[in-house]
């Protein structure tokens, strides 16, 4: 008993006062991308390098000349291949871990209109929820469903329960049954074999409910996009049979997202205009 107490004193208090204090992330961490506007000419290097097709040609070239493509964070696995491939340095990855958004189209990152690549990027302003989630402000219980994930997103959700993050102090908790839950948190590209179990779990979640999708796989299929065994995450699942009332409330991009990104996403539901 005395040894346990002694060890307890050694292990100290380790919970970070998030979001007041910012987490210290690795300088090599690739966070929210920022794009500079460059003229691409015939160069296709980034398109060829990107393993998930996350780069979309910029449709709005004002003078008809090819410019920096749009980056879809919903598909991006943050591997940095585009940054390495671009001869003009159009792609940068900041250390910003806050990346969650409420609408699919908000995951598209365009080049800053200002062509001065050297100008410091303006501070990132996270978006406000388009709907009122105040019902879940003090208590949000989530059921996690892993549908073909590799286990990394699941691990980074699980870790939120540890004392470094201490999810419980925000009134947020992962619960054992959809019957106890206010919503689902989905990871994985939705394998064929998990499709039915996912829809059953959704149907078992009482209304009002919300749906958070975490990770590139769950948003778009990620690396497993276009595998015949997967449904391309919510991108592919929406509009198919039995998914009429499936509405995504929160998107957290990443492969896997940093735990702080997931925590920021869950907390952003209580952000007020």
């Amino acid at each position: 008993m005395l040894r346990i107490i002694k060890e307890r004193l050694h292990q100290k208090y380790r919970t970070l006062d998030y979001p007041r204090q910012k987490p210290a992330l690795s300088p090599r961490y690739l966070g929210r991308p920022t794009l500079a506007n460059v003229e691409c000419g015939d160069c296709r290097a980034c398109f060829e390098a990107c393993p998930t097709g996350a780069l979309l040609p910029d449709p709005a070239g004002p003078d008809g000349r090819a410019r920096t493509p749009v980056l879809d964070m919903g598909r991006c696995i943050f591997c940095g291949a585009c940054r390495a491939a671009c001869p003009k340095g159009a792609f940068r990855f900041s250390g910003e871990h806050r990346m969650a958004v409420f609408r699919r189209e908000d995951l598209l990152v365009s080049a800053a209109p200002d062509p001065q690549a050297d100008a410091p990027a303006p501070a990132y302003e996270p978006p406000f929820p388009p709907r009122d989630y105040s019902l879940f402000r003090r208590s949000l219980k989530l059921r996690q469903v892993s549908a073909g994930g590799c286990g990394a997103c699941e691990a980074d959700c699980n870790v939120l329960g540890t004392l470094a993050y201490d999810l419980g102090r925000f009134g947020i908790e992962f619960v054992a049954s959809p019957r106890h839950a206010d919503g689902l948190l989905l990871t994985g590209p939705v394998s064929e074999n998990m499709r039915r179990a996912l829809l059953d779990t959704w149907a078992a979640t009482p209304k009002p409910r919300l749906l958070a999708v975490v990770g590139a796989c769950a948003i778009s299929g990620g690396l497993f996009r276009d595998s015949p065994q997967c449904r391309n995450g919510m991108d592919g699942l929406k509009g198919t049979q039995g998914t009429d009332d499936l509405h995504v409330d929160l998107f957290v991009p990443g492969c896997p997202p940093n735990p702080w990104s997931i925590l920021d996403g869950l907390l952003s539901l209580r952000r007020k205009n």
Binding site: R3, E7, R28, Q144, V159, L163, A176, N193, F224
Partner: protein, 506 residues
């Protein structure tokens, strides 16, 4: 039997074509003589989809660091090895499902990766679960969606009171078609093929990214004869051992949690994160994604970074040691773990278990020792004899010390060689592979031996790219460990194996 050094690719043309009965006879004799089945799979004749396939079996003799390969011409049926060689049981089920080769006489021919309630295919009859009959026997079904944050799988217990007569584990929910995607990667053009395969394998099992990436790089390097600088080996091992530390630490915390010993449970959750964050300091990603490249690594460390990592490693190592010792010294914990979920050595060997689960039964299987990937000074397997949850916890606890020492030594060697940051400029990936070769890579991930295997055809195209995660060998071990145990022992038993669903399902 055609045998070769484990580091050398074998020439496919020197492998004699055997008939299935002869292959069966030779494999069973070899396994009786101390060889071990690394992989047993369908080998198509050509790279064309739907080409007729024959059998190919790769065996390892750990004491002499020798591999052996056997193959047959294309066939549709073969006499099952399983009745005389239980190691083959899971491979033969996979063979039937994946290549349509029927093992005649297989006692338990069920799907491996088709989920019990999967939709869509014509034969979606109910999964043939084994049932124990009797008035007082009841059945407990769990999953695929579990109570915790964990991957999906289905467990079916046949219980008599609290006692588990039989546990059947039905997986496949995580099946993403990984091997098919590896084969299809060449369609993305030469610039992407190698990079894409590596990215996919980093996601084979997300908690073993570095181990699977190492196995893939080693496989390709052996196929093409590519040399890897020592500095890259040091960096790769730092990644691999940090992965082991993080997961062993987390597993011991999870065992503490299911024992009800909460101090270690909560501390280890945090310390696991410290190890993951060290990996992030090396390559930016907590799971080691993007650390490796064909022929080297994508990142390097300067002396200051090595020093910073060493300081953090010592602090986390001290915290982990303290937290785990408190737990393992508590009489109540020892009592709960002792004798729970015990497997004996003969069963472990017959089933072909690997990794922590095998070493806990006294089997000296550690690929770092019997199939080292580099010339760096290595390690000895940590063995326990009792085969129970306690043994699996003790193996992890001792391996943490080994890994801490290895990482610290590697970091000091990396720091000593200033200015030589050549590891981060790996060579260009090969534009084509040599023709008609079979290469094998064995890497000891934290869970156990990961085996990757590739066979090329006359044009250097991939005929087979086989991934065998340690979970593939070990899931049947968990089912056996539960037999005649209490159903309340299952969470603890499960945590002590901590097997991967996606690594199995691929």
């Amino acid at each position: 039997m055609f045998s070769f050094d484990y580091r050398q690719p074998a020439d496919m043309d020197s492998l004699p074509l055997l008939d299935a009965a002869e292959l069966r006879r030779r494999v069973i004799r070899a396994v009786d003589g101390g060889w071990r089945m690394l992989a047993f799979f369908g080998l198509p004749e050509t790279a064309r989809p739907g080409a007729p396939a024959g059998l190919c079996c790769v065996l390892a003799h750990d004491a002499t660091r020798t591999l052996a390969a056997l193959r047959t011409p294309p066939l549709e049926q073969f006499p099952s090895l399983t009745p005389d060689c239980p190691q083959a049981h899971y491979f033969e089920r996979e063979m039937y499902e994946q290549w349509g080769l029927e093992p005649v006489g297989h006692p338990w021919l069920k799907p491996v990766r088709r989920a019990p309630d999967a939709e869509g295919d014509g034969e979606s009859a109910a999964y043939p679960f084994y049932r124990a009959d009797g008035d007082e026997v009841h059945e407990v079904a769990v999953g695929p969606v579990h109570a915790g944050i964990i991957e999906p799988g289905h467990f079916r217990f046949q219980c008599y009171g609290e006692n588990v007569l039989h546990l059947e584990i039905a997986l496949g929910y995580q099946h993403r078609g990984l091997e098919a995607m590896l084969a299809a990667a060449s369609a993305y053009g030469p610039a992407q093929t190698t990079a894409r395969r590596l990215l996919l394998l980093e996601c084979a099992a997300g908690d073993s990214s570095v181990a699977h990436a190492t196995a893939h790089c080693v496989l390709w390097e052996r196929l093409t004869g590519q040399d890897v600088p020592e500095r890259a080996w040091l960096l790769r091992r730092v990644g691999l051992e940090l992965e082991r530390l993080a997961n062993h630490c987390g597993d011991l915390g999870a065992i503490a949690g299911d024992t009800g010993f909460l101090p270690t449970s909560s501390w280890n959750g945090r310390i696991r994160g410290d190890f993951l964050n060290m990996t992030a300091s090396v390559c930016g990603n907590r799971f080691g994604r993007g650390l490796l490249r064909y022929g080297g690594t994508a990142h390097d460390l300067c002396p200051e970074e090595c020093e910073d990592l060493t300081t953090r490693l010592r602090a986390a190592g001290r915290d982990a040691r303290g937290a785990v010792d408190i737990m393992l010294d508590a009489a109540s914990v020892r009592d709960r773990l002792n004798g729970t979920g015990a497997l004996n050595r003969a069963d472990a060997r017959a089933l072909g278990l690997v990794g922590v689960a095998a070493r806990a039964c006294g089997l000296p299987l550690d690929a770092r020792f019997h199939a080292p990937v580099s010339d760096l000074p290595g390690t000895e397997p940590c063995l326990e004899q009792s085969g129970d949850v306690l043994a699996r916890a003790l193996v992890r606890s001792r391996e943490m010390d080994d890994s801490l020492a290895l990482v610290e030594a590697d970091l000091s060697r990396l720091a000593a060689r200033t200015g030589a940051r050549t590891a981060a400029t790996p060579p260009a990936p090969p534009s084509r592979l040599p023709a008609r070769k079979l290469a094998v890579a064995q890497v000891e991930g934290w869970r156990g031996e990961i085996c990757h295997l590739a066979v090329t055809d006359a044009e250097g195209e991939l005929l087979a790219c086989k991934i065998v995660d340690p979970s593939f060998h070990n899931w049947p071990g968990l089912a056996l460990a539960m037999r005649n145990g209490q159903i309340s022992d299952f969470p603890l038993c499960n945590k002590s194996f901590n097997l991967s669903y996606c690594g199995h399902d691929l």
